[in-house]
Symmetry: C2
């Protein structure tokens, strides 16, 4: 055909949340791969590892001892990137060398006492307890009046820089608005001011109508591959109700979020029958900065794998210097994810 | 001390070229590493590999045969991400699903007939020939009136997604301005309009005065760790003369650029006595879009290694969702690079 076709021809897509563009090369998966093949991560961990600083009753770097906890366990990172006691200050040398002091709190959340599990292997009821901890941590951190942004995230798998395989996530709270969140704030605000409605609400309504990129939904959340996805199997969880942060989720919504995370991460693991690596995290309204009615809670999943359990997508030369680029379409990725089972491959047989 | 100190306290720095901020956590290298350790790449390659599609006289995917070339060899990528014959078109569904057709040309440049070399192992005179090819490719690609941007880059090492160890680089030319280049255009334009001078010219003058982040210079180029570096040993080559693109480099400048690349990449290899991986590329003025007098040619090097030949910096959860973050200061990195020999460790003994 001579007509432009998103399934076939190279094109750029707009990320309406950041205002940035991404390059899509649908024809490009055909190229041969002689490049890096990742080792598969050892999958057989003991339920308890005496060397792990996240396992119950073990010692941590600061000398303290973990309690014999049953659900989740939260503490301040012994190697925090942001610290509570940073003095104020900065530098401005001719507007060429510009720096500002940064203050913050970094928290670590062990998702389970079990060293050998990951989110997709946990029961939905156990994930629900993690959601509760995220909510209460968000609430507590927001009581520091100087904290402006709270980033809840997880790095899963050593390929994603995770330094300990014990299932855990992190929260970095700080006194300024990070770059990605500033972009999303601006884009959501613009749409809200123009149309009086949530950008992601309008987007979700259109996606549910088109049904091309939606993977599944429950009563309170939809899970889809965003039109502008960068990573091969990137997804988003969007709340059906327009709420600005996790603070406002009801018990039903928290159950439904746990259900969405469970079902999505099980599908991920089933893709290549491996513990599927990703970095994931929530984007939500800044805190202690007045009202942000345009903010719409959502969660991004950025998984690196492209072709198999051992070949990932590299965001390198062109991507770093010029523009993010992907090799399969969002629609193809959604179709693949839709076709996968919601029963974890390890419990299947 | 209670006073704010860039060497000691967490802070953010402004990237004056993009307008983005990065987070610096100088105290954070102390944390233990139980995470991913990369395999070192096999270093003993034959001078000629019959399986390599870049070696002289070998067959390529399109059925053609490489000439028995002596210097560099350029051809259009058999698996191009951008294609010449993409039909025009696009999509705009309610400003929520927005896409544009993308047209372009992707070129591959073998730097040397020798399968076993890399840029730091080549003679400066051989690198100079690569510079000539970059210049003539830039000139040729700019003769297509619809081409607006030409990205010259190299992915070195399998850890940077390089799919073939034969020394080579790439050029992606396209009909639109990529995201990173659009940001640098805007920032340079703003400064030029306000001060009537090149942003990078002013920045370079200040860096040469401060001498804290400069690694070395020759008659026509300075090599430094930018104040806002994201990657642990990120560097920039900046031309002393304010030229908008490689098109305007004189013979002397081309010799000097080859010298700068040789000396920088040798220092890199000497850092951990390994073939130091990186993605590198030039940023220069858009083409066929009128004058861009504010554009100042420069080249970025983004190497991933942090602690050793096998432990890299991961740009993951916090970095993807919130803000780029680094663990050592730019000043520390510059000091380390300054202290390294300009004789390659493999020829030393
Ligand atoms: O074209 P190559 O070398 O096969 O591919 C490499 O560089 C490209 C441009 O940065 C990336 O899109 C690929 O992910 C990477 O593997
Ligand atoms: O804090 P961790 O798990 O040791 O570290 C990991 O996550 C951080 C936040 O995304 C990154 O800065 C590190 O590069 C990564 O290794």
């Amino acid at each position: 055909t001579n007509n432009f076709d998103l399934k076939e021809h190279p094109h750029s897509r707009l990320n309406i949340l950041t205002g940035d563009w991404i390059l899509v090369s649908p024809h490009r998966t055909k190229r041969p791969w002689q490049g890096k093949v990742e080792a598969t991560q050892a999958n057989d961990r003991p339920a308890y590892d005496p060397q792990c600083y996240l396992c119950p009753t073990n010692k941590r770097a600061d000398g303290s001892e973990n309690p014999d906890y049953k659900g989740s366990f939260v503490f301040t990172n012994d190697y925090s990137s942001l610290l509570l006691n940073t003095p104020d200050g900065g530098l401005n040398d001719d507007e060429l060398l510009v720096a500002n002091s940064q203050k913050g709190i970094c928290r670590v959340i062990s998702f389970s006492p079990r060293h050998d599990l990951t989110l997709p292997q946990m029961e939905t009821a156990e994930i629900r307890k993690v959601v509760d901890v995220w909510q209460s941590e968000f609430e507590n951190l927001a009581t520091y009046p100087w904290i402006k942004h709270i980033q809840i995230f997880e790095n899963k798998g050593d390929i994603m820089g995770c330094s300990n395989p014990h299932p855990h996530g992190q929260i970095w709270a700080q006194n300024s608005i990070p770059v990605e969140v500033a972009k999303e704030t601006q884009q959501q605000k613009k749409h809200f001011e123009q149309k009086g409605r949530s950008l992601l609400g309008d987007y979700l309504a259109l996606e549910l109508k088109r049904a091309e990129r939606v993977i599944f939904e429950n009563d309170h959340f939809a899970v889809l591959v965003p039109f502008w996805a960068v990573w091969p199997y990137e997804t988003m969880i969007i709340s059906k109700r327009h709420v600005t942060s996790i603070l406002y989720f009801t018990d039903d919504e928290k159950d439904a979020l746990a259900d969405a995370i469970k079902r999505l991460t099980v599908r991920y693991d089933n893709m290549f029958e491996t513990s599927f690596p990703y970095s994931a995290g929530m984007h939500q309204s800044p805190v202690n900065m007045g009202e942000h009615p345009y903010w719409h809670w959502h969660m991004h999943f950025y998984p690196p794998l492209l072709r198999s359990a051992t070949v990932k997508k590299f965001m390198v030369g062109y991507e770093m210097l010029a523009n993010p680029q992907r090799d399969i379409t969002a629609e193809y990725a959604a179709e693949k994810l839709r076709g996968l089972s919601e029963i974890h491959y390890k419990v299947k047989g």
